[in-house]
Each structure stands twice: as C-alpha cells, then as structure tokens.
Amino acid sequence: MSEEIIKDVIVRENEDYIINMGPQHPSTHGVLRFEVCLKGETVKYLIPHIGYIHRGIEKMCEADTYQQIIHLTDRMDYLSAHINNEAVCMVVEEAMQVEVPERVKYIRTILDELNRLASHQLWWCAFGMDLGALTAFFYGLRDREHILDIFEESFGSRLLHSFNTPGGLMHDVHPNFQKRTKEFITYFRKKLPEYDQLLTGNIIFQERVKGVGYMSREKAIAYGVTGPSARGSNLACDIRKIAPYGAYDKVQFNEILMTEGDTFARYQVRMGEMWESMKIIEQLIDNIPEGDFTAKMKPIIKLPAGEYFKRVETARGELAVYVVSDGNKTPYRMKFRSPNFSNLFVMNELAAGGKIADLVAISGSLDLVIPDIDR
C-alpha cells in the first residue's frame, strides 16, 4: 500500500479520523463493523458494514421443507430462538388452516416469555459490560442460567432449541417444567431489584445513559425501529398487543412505553418488560390446559399456493415472516423481516454528535444481535 493511501486515513487538521469498530471489537457483540468518523472524541458519523456472517438463510429456506426451516430460524436471532421458531410455525399453521391445541398455545407463550427474559437478562449483562460494569455481566448470566436449565430439561438444548414444529411442539414439556418455572419466578423477583440497585440507580450509569442517543418517535417510525428500542420513544408497536397470537389475548400485561427516547428510556423499557414477562408467565403457568402437544399434521406439508404473512414480537422487536408458496413442499420464497436489521441503521442518527463511549452505550441499548442482521 502506498504511503498516500495510509496518509489519507490519518488525522490531520480538518480531516476525518476514521476508526473501524469491528468486525472484531468487544462492543459490537459480534462481527459487525462500524466505520466511525471521529472528531476528537466526538462521533461525526458512522457507517455500519454488514455481511460478515451472511449465511443466506432465506435462500437456504427455499430448499428445505417447512419442518426443516425451523432449525434455520434458530440461528437468526439466537437469543429469541423459540420466538423465531414460533413465527414460522404460525405462518405454516395459518396456511394449512390448522388449529393448534390450547395447551400448545399456552406453552408456547410461556416459553416465549422465558426466552424474552433470558434475552433481556443477557442484554442487561452485555449493556453493563459495554458501560464497564463487569460485575453486572456475571449477575445477569448467573440468573439466566436458571432459565437455560429449564430449557435444557424440557428441550435438551439451552440456546438453539428447535422445539416448535408446524402444528405444535416436538414433544411435551418436562413434568418438572411448571414447578421449576415457578421457582425461577420467585427467585428472579428477588434478584431483579438487585439489578436496579447495582446499575439503574447508579449515578455514573445514569449520567452515561440519560439524554444519550435521543431517538424521536418520528425517527423510530421512519427507520422502522421496533421492539423495546422503539417503545422507548413512545411508539406503541408491541405485536403481542396489536395482533395477539398464542395465549397473549388471555393475559393481562402492560406495554411499557417511555417518552424520553434516550438510551435510559430504552433501558427502562427492557427492565419493565422483564417484570411484565414474569407477570405473563405467572398468569399462565398454573392454567396450562391438558391436551395434545401437537395438532394432527401430515408428514409432508405442502402449503397451498399463495402468499402468507405472520409477525411476532421477539425480544428485539417485530419479526415478520413472509412466505410465497407455489404448492410445493418447499417455499418458493421466504422472507424474514428481522428487527435488528432495521434497528441497526438508526445507529448513525443516534450516535452522531455523541462521544465514542456514547456510541457503545447506544449500540448496547439497541440490543443488536448480529446474525439476525445478516441472516
């Protein structure tokens, strides 16, 4: 490389100082690259570069049967694997006009919320770590372990549990499931206030996140931001409320909305959602109806020709699945509208003008999962 090119990148007066955050960087939580232009410590603009772990999941889906697609969706947003599975299952069930048993709906909803809790716990740890509070990281992981143990007992795997199948579940939940879930809820109700003491109330933490990365409601709509990140900007976009699926129409819960639109608002939305998730689980866990764990499905599923669309609320926002079928046993086209992809590109708007440390806090507060962006 010639001297000239190197010189271009390097700081001189009134010239851009560009640093690459990623693809190997502790704050991007994966192989995402931000090309950050700095002026001193201040971020002038940033360009996200994606594609480092693109695996072509949508294309792979076109070669797979509908049962086989499920395990691919695990690997998009791996922290809400169960919710992703459910989205595909629901779209197939809708196309086939299969009514899943009530038991399945209840269990799916409980698992959704457990998955959301686990995901938010991991987000909390990682957010703390981004801000330099390493102890938060371990407390979050410690409590997440309990959920993962419940998952392991029922599904046999902790993170990527292809537990849903079109029409129902792979097999019934473990007999201990209800007991352990209830134990976990009582345990976590005691631990969650500790999170607040350790981080939320902390003056350093509040100074770091309050007023940082302001996202207006209009901007959230314009960029298609969904999930807790958008709800921090007072955008009611909870699919569980808008288009209830599973057993969400049978439970009482609040959609947490914050008006501030800053990083702290997004933080508080997620903390509030943890309480709400526990509320939902408590309402459902004792009332799981008896019945079959799966509806009758043919071994080879062929969707009638047509287009099908279904959306769910993952831990990060709205996941929409769009299937075009030509009547074969594999989809003609499969499209996932993943929440992280839209949430990522608002980064420049939020981080420009802030400090590098703010950039880290903002990307933490958007809770990006990189495989979901790249798919």
């Binding site: 797979d64 049967t65 049962q67 086989q68 499920i70 395990h71 691919l72 695990d74 690997r75 102890t135 410690r142 372990e145 392991e152 007992e153 029922s154 599904f155 046999g156 795997s157 990527l160 292809s162 199948t165 792979m170 097999h171 473990h174 500790e194 003491q197 350790l198 981080l199 109330g201 902390n202 003056i203 350093i204 509040q206 071994p299």
Partner: protein
Amino acid sequence: MNSISKYFSDLFKGISSLWAGMRVTGKYFVSPGQIVTQQYPENRATLKMEPRFKGEIIMPHDENNQHACTGCGICEINCPNGSIEIITDRVPNADGKLERVIDKHIFHLSMCTFCGLCVKTCPSDALAFGQEFEHAVFDRHKLTKVLNQPGSSLKKEAKK
C-alpha cells in the same frame, strides 16, 4: 442559593446511589451464596445431563446386539443438513426372500445441528439422543460415526 442546594443534593444523591451498588457487591463478597460455575473436568463423575439432552445421535442396541433400524431412509430425507447417510444391503432372510437391512448408518456429527427431526420422524424409534457432549477430536474424520454396531441385526419385533 437554589443552585447551591441543588449541587449538594446532587452530590449526596450520587454518593448514596453509589453506596447502594457497593452494598450489593459487598453483600456478595461477604456471603457469595450460590456459585453457579461448574468445575467441569473435575466434576465429570457427578455431572449428569438432563435425560432429554441432545448430545449426539445414537442408535440404541439391546443386549443381543440388535437395533430397530429398518433402513427406511426417512431420517436421511428429513435431515436438513444431510448429516445422515444410510447404506443398505439386501440379504436373504429365513424364507429366502431378499430383505433390506442396513449395512451402515452413517452419522456426520460435524454437520448436525441437533434439530431432532431424525429422532422425531423415525417410524421405528431406532434413533435417540445420547448424553455425550465432549465432541472435540483432533481429526475431523472421527466425527463421522457409524451408528449401527458391527455384527448387529434388526430386532425381530420391530419388523411388524
């Protein structure tokens, strides 16, 4: 005057919030309570995976070295990653008819994503998940496993 009182109230609020955090960590320093860390290689003897744990695909054999796999190939079709290969053979049975039996049920652990479709769809329940999770090997060829044991045969009752 107002700003001065605000300065001091900010200061004290800040200090008390810091103290709240230090109380939490201090509490854990004095009484760590549960330590969730698994002492992994040492606790091998006591480490018990959940019964449903998806370790690897195995083919259970009974005491007569018999398995239930008829070699129908449904698992092979259902596997999304092509990690199962079945090599069948035709041997004459007691009646002299040629009958399909498996020669080798090959399982590529390196390609498996543990989705469980093979186990779920097997019509004769010949496959199951094993508890083994220490899959690391020095040679990738060791990840290709033949699930049926040498000299094994088909369970008679499984034929019906």
